[in-house]
């Protein structure tokens, strides 16, 4: 295991009464490094907490923020639930899909943007909302999205779905 992973793993094990509690936080750390949950991360995690790689996969696949496949540099997650739907999320979704030329959970061919429609993000007072690498954007109109897109293109986020 890489030294920094091993160090993080030990820190996490010390935090919990039982080893397996460290599993998801450890995978979050690995995903921050690699962009998704790699085979290596699964095997490292299995070794760390003492379960099989198959069990790790079963658990990791339960959680929507742990990616089983590579994603884009920028992950755009648009809320589609009731309050956002009532304030224009359908139109926003159509706009973004047309702008990026991608569908649900697809990544642009240049590997820059992954698009996902997600459920309620708990920002219903500023609907429609989205998250860009887990940072909130509020009251997003199609025009505002175009501005954001230019800003994102010019930026270099550290990790697609940053851990803290």
């Amino acid at each position: 295991m890489r030294a920094d992973r091993e160090r993080r793993g030990r820190e996490l094990l010390a935090k919990y009464p039982r080893a397996q509690s460290a599993l998801v936080p450890f995978l979050q750390f690995c995903q921050q490094q690699d962009g998704y949950v790699t085979r290596e991360a699964i095997e490292d995690a299995a070794g760390l907490v003492g379960i099989t790689p198959g069990q790790v996969e079963s658990i990791a696949s339960f959680y929507s923020l742990l990616f089983q496949h590579p994603v884009g540099t920028h992950v755009i997650q648009v809320c589609r639930t009731l309050s956002c739907m009532l304030r224009g999320s359908d139109e926003l979704q159509r706009h973004i899909k047309a702008r990026l030329g991608v569908g649900q959970m697809e990544t642009t061919p240049d590997g820059m943007f992954t698009y996902e429609e997600v459920e309620c993000l708990a920002a219903c007072d500023r609907a429609p909302c989205l998250q860009h690498n887990l940072e909130y954007e509020y009251d997003v109109t199609p025009a505002k999205f175009d501005e954001l897109l230019e800003r994102w293109r010019a930026s270099k986020p550290a990790a697609p779905l940053a851990a803290e």
Binding site: Q28, L82, C124, A127, E164
Partner: protein, 428 residues
């Protein structure tokens, strides 16, 4: 009419993420008083007497929940539920990042009351910003002695561990949350045993919502009588209502329970000009709708239960006459289809059936028998699952189907959406 803010006091005006600002507003006085002058039993009794009911959704009396813990010497855990994901609810996210020290004080005070060995704060994975703010505040609280070893010089010590979720609505269900903290798939447990007997790591555990715990210091400061005197006797106290949808000033409103639905709408600026009310979902995505004729209904646990709906999490979503009820119901059906953990067949398969039927209806491809299935499927889905998620699939859909049956029938007859505003909306 303005109401006295309690746990939202200062939010938007003061920087309550600064511990000294929080202190100058009376912060940590309740914790200090409890640790120096009150026994844990005394704190539990005060909370029981206040009749504080859980603000996460179920509305269970907090003091009674605490009282269920067996006195058998095993370590006890307090788990604070900040996995807010109920559609239309956005209060805990605000409390976490706008007033983190209040949450810390509430958690430590409650942990003292139940003599918890450790506190776990489960923060929804999507709340990256909030968890950053909270982590900084927690470090300050440790430095100042409000948490950790021998808190404020007393004999009580407790640590707070932050556990971040990784994307799963179901982990807001308390036993799913415990599974999740244990590093497993977030699948709800069969109850009994209840968490009070065998919870986290098999130990006696209390799971309380963020908002619930934020009220605890105020009840200790101002007394159970003060809290119990606000709102209806069986459903007392203030509560944050998250108001969104077709409303002029969406936001979090802390109101005394018992105010009417109409008053809450007025408080949030009313409807948009030239619109009329069509439906309200008063207590999150799992609650049945109320309608224009119900505007006098009290916003509290018992009044809403009498209307066959619930206060739930306080997510109050307003829908005006431009809303297609089929489209609204489809949105929520798809939510539950997506979020079912898959353990119980009625929820997993039933949720998919309902969403599929709704997609068909909304696309103008539905039939009259489809509507009859929707009218009766409730009997097989509701009450047949391990946890309340399965029971949440039908309440809203059933209520709007009963109130606006013609709108469903019109989708079949016209082979498209007749409401107009949402006509032709393609749905994934």
């Amino acid at each position: 009419m303005p109401y006295e803010p309690v746990i939202t006091k200062g939010i938007g005006q003061l920087d309550l993420t600064d511990v000294d600002v929080y202190r100058s507003e009376g912060g940590f006085e309740a914790l200090e008083r409890a640790l120096t002058a009150m026994t844990p039993e005394h704190v539990v009794n005060e909370i029981s007497a206040s009749n504080l009911r859980g603000r996460g959704g179920a509305g269970f009396p907090t003091g009674r929940k605490w009282g269920f813990l067996p006195k058998d010497g095993r370590p006890r855990y307090l788990v604070c539920n900040c996995d807010e994901a109920e559609p239309g609810t956005f209060k805990d996210r605000m409390l976490l990042s706008a007033t983190p020290f209040q949450l810390i004080e509430g958690m430590v005070l409650s942990a003292y009351a139940i003599n918890a060995a450790k506190i776990f704060l489960y923060i929804r994975g999507e709340f990256l910003d909030g968890s950053r703010v909270f982590r900084r505040s927690l470090a300050t609280a440790y430095e100042r002695g409000f948490v950790g070893q021998r808190i404020l010089g007393s004999h009580y010590s407790v640590d707070i561990a932050i556990h971040r979720g990784a994307g799963a609505y179901i982990c807001g269900e308390e036993t799913a949350m415990l599974e999740s903290i244990e590093g497993k798939r977030g699948e709800p447990r069969l109850k009994p045993p209840f968490p009070a007997i065998a919870g986290l790591y098999g130990m006696p555990t209390v799971v309380n919502n963020v908002e619930t715990l934020c009220y605890v210091p105020h009840i200790i400061n101002r007394g159970a009588t003060w809290f119990a005197s606000i709102g209806p006797q069986r459903s007392p106290g203030p509560k944050i209502m998250s108001v969104s949808g077709h409303i002029q000033r969406p936001g979090n409103y802390e109101v005394p329970l018992g105010i009417s639905a109409g008053e809450l709408i007025e408080l949030a600026g009313g409807l948009f000009p030239n619109r009329t009310l069509k439906a309200i979902q008063p207590g999150g995505g799992s609650s049945a709708a109320i309608f224009p004729e119900d505007l006098d209904t009290g916003i509290d646990f018992d009044s809403l239960a009498a209307k066959k709906t619930m206060l739930g999490s306080g997510g109050f979503v307003v829908m005006d006459d431009t809303t297609c009820m089929v489209r609204a119901a489809l949105t929520l059906a798809r939510f539950f289809e997506t979020e079912s953990c898959g353990q119980c067949t009625p929820c997993r398969e039933g949720g998919q059936w309902v969403a599929r039927l709704m997609r068909r209806l909304e696309a103008g491809e539905g039939s009259a028998p489809d509507i009859r299935v929707l009218e009766t499927i409730n009997q097989t889905i509701t009450g047949t699952n391990l946890c309340p998620l399965g029971d949440s699939i039908m309440p809203f859909l059933g209520s709007v189907l009963r109130r606006y049956p013609q709108e469903f029938a019109d989708h079949v007859a016209a082979a498209r959406c007749p409401v107009g505003a949402n006509a032709g909306v393609a749905v994934a």
